[in-house]
């Protein structure tokens, strides 16, 4: 049986892993390559590298790190951040990324998902949506959660999937950094509507939050988190073990 995936997310700026809460107050954590290698050995099923660099020097540093990681870590690697064109896909795929996650780039350029899916296949294109409740509806936010696009989230995500996105990362801004559990209501609204894998992001604070996620929403395929893994509050091996104990298919590294 296919297992539910656990995915640590590494926000990378100037060659280091950072993490903040609610997208503000970033805090340096560790070396991305070492951390990726560590997670892989602990049983992470996949890794997300998010490039939050603004400068071109930083971008070069990021692709160097990506290349080094992909030559040492042999689990799937998704890259996001600063993906605005098909050339950006090319740049990170050449450095060893397996999937590319688009967020603001797909909002600015609605044809990006379609073009990339045609060129690299849907399995390569991940739509990452930062979503927040505004006036009783789910809204897509751009620019790292700072800008309300006015787009209704569910229909926007469905449109991206129709255009060829092969996976959806749903990041709830409302629960991000709060550590009181995933946004089950928002996740249900999306996973009921799409027939590609849905990755839950934002809000995990403890092992039980993942158990609740997969028990409540069997159509959610993966759980993503950052700081709880980076700060050792949740050990991936313990998480996998608890999942298995609760009857959730999990890949345990013994």
């Amino acid at each position: 049986m296919i297992t539910k995936r656990i995915i640590p997310c590494l926000d990378v700026r100037n060659g280091r892993v950072v993490k903040g809460t609610n997208f503000e107050g970033l805090r340096d954590v560790s070396s991305p390559v070492d951390l990726a290698d560590y997670y892989s050995r602990c049983g992470a099923d996949e890794l997300v590298f998010y490039d939050i660099t603004a400068s071109s020097d930083g971008r070069k540093l990021f692709t160097d790190i990506l290349r080094e990681t992909a030559s040492r870590v042999f689990i799937p690697l998704t890259v996001g951040g600063g993906i605005n064109t098909v050339d950006d896909f090319d740049r990170v795929l050449k450095c060893g990324a397996d999937k590319v996650s688009v967020n603001s780039g797909a909002i600015r350029n609605p044809s990006l998902v379609k073009e990339a899916a045609l060129k690299y296949g849907s399995q390569c294109v991940v739509i990452s949506a930062d979503v927040k409740r505004v006036n009783g509806e789910f809204r897509v936010f751009a620019k790292g959660g700072r800008e309300d696009t006015g787009l209704e989230a569910i229909s926007w995500i469905c449109r991206c999937v129709d255009n060829g996105a092969g996976e959806v990362v749903l990041n709830s801004i409302d629960t991000d950094g709060v550590k009181k559990g995933f946004d089950l209501e928002m996740l249900k609204a999306v996973s009921d509507r799409v027939n590609v894998p849905v990755i839950a992001s934002g809000g995990a604070g403890c092992i039980q939050d993942f158990i609740d996620l997969f028990k409540t929403l069997p159509r959610v395929d993966a759980g993503l988190a950052a700081s709880i893994f980076h700060f050792g509050e949740v050990k991936i091996a313990d998480l996998k073990h608890e999942m298995a104990k609760n009857g959730i298919p999990a890949r345990e590294i013994l």
Binding site: M1, I2, T3, R5, S40, D45, R67, A70, S71, R72, F74, I75, P76, L93, K94, C95, G96, D98, Y120, G121, S122, Q123, C124, G166, E167, N195, V196, P197, D221, A222, R251, I253
Partner: protein
């Protein structure tokens, strides 16, 4: 030395790196003399069958690859590279494969219910069907990473492992010196590296 056949599809960086990680020299190449010199070949592949099939034909490498493999050189097809090994493929039409292993490639959806998502993306367990040399350093139940919407069928005699995703889907095949993995050994952690380790022992 292992030659990774470069016929213009897919990203071969991880594949090459995975061989380095097990101490094996791997060369990404479209040079026929390198293919001849190699101890074994890897046939990679991602994307649509039709495009990959066309790229392989137009690369001018197909004839040489078939000649070398029929002459006994071990070859492993990975993901779409495995699907190319069969006789027929039914991805958006009907296409001839390389015919190195009897069987055909059909949509997973034909075999499983509507409730499961296509493609199968993620880690799933190997269920052994027949012994295989590439299982030397792994065990039944080990997890490997899959991304696929099509599966090989009608190849039971050559199927060495399946995986359960609504139905038993072909995970790996072997026919003499020809091997195929539907999953990605280069993305399957230590289990995947151990499969490649067994493969590079073959000459």
């Amino acid at each position: 030395m292992t030659a990774i056949i470069d016929y213009g599809v897919g990203n071969l960086f991880s594949l090459k790196s995975s061989f380095s990680a097990i101490g094996e020299e791997a060369v990404i190449t479209k040079d026929i003399s390198v293919l001849e010199r190699a101890d074994r070949l890897i046939l990679p592949g991602v994307g649509a069958f039709r495009d990959a099939r066309k790229a392989l034909s137009e690369s001018g490498l197909e004839e040489k690859v078939l000649e070398l493999v029929k002459g006994g050189k071990p070859m492993m097809g990975i993901c779409l590279g495995m699907q190319l090994l069969f006789e027929k493929d039914y991805e958006d039409g009907e296409y001839d494969g390389l015919g190195l292993i009897p069987g055909e490639v059909r949509p997973i959806r034909e075999k499983i219910g509507d409730s499961l998502k296509i493609p199968q993306i993620g880690w799933n367990a190997l269920i052994y069907k027949n012994p295989s040399k590439i299982f030397k350093y792994i065990k039944e139940g080990d997890f490997v990473y899959f991304v696929h919407s099509y599966h090989a069928t009608g190849c039971e005699t050559y199927t060495t492992a399946v995986t359960e995703y609504g139905a038993n889907l072909t995970a790996s095949v072997e026919n003499g010196n020809v091997f195929g993995c539907q999953f990605h050994p280069e993305k399957s952690g230590d289990v995947g590296l151990n499969i490649l380790r067994a493969f590079v022992e073959m000459k």
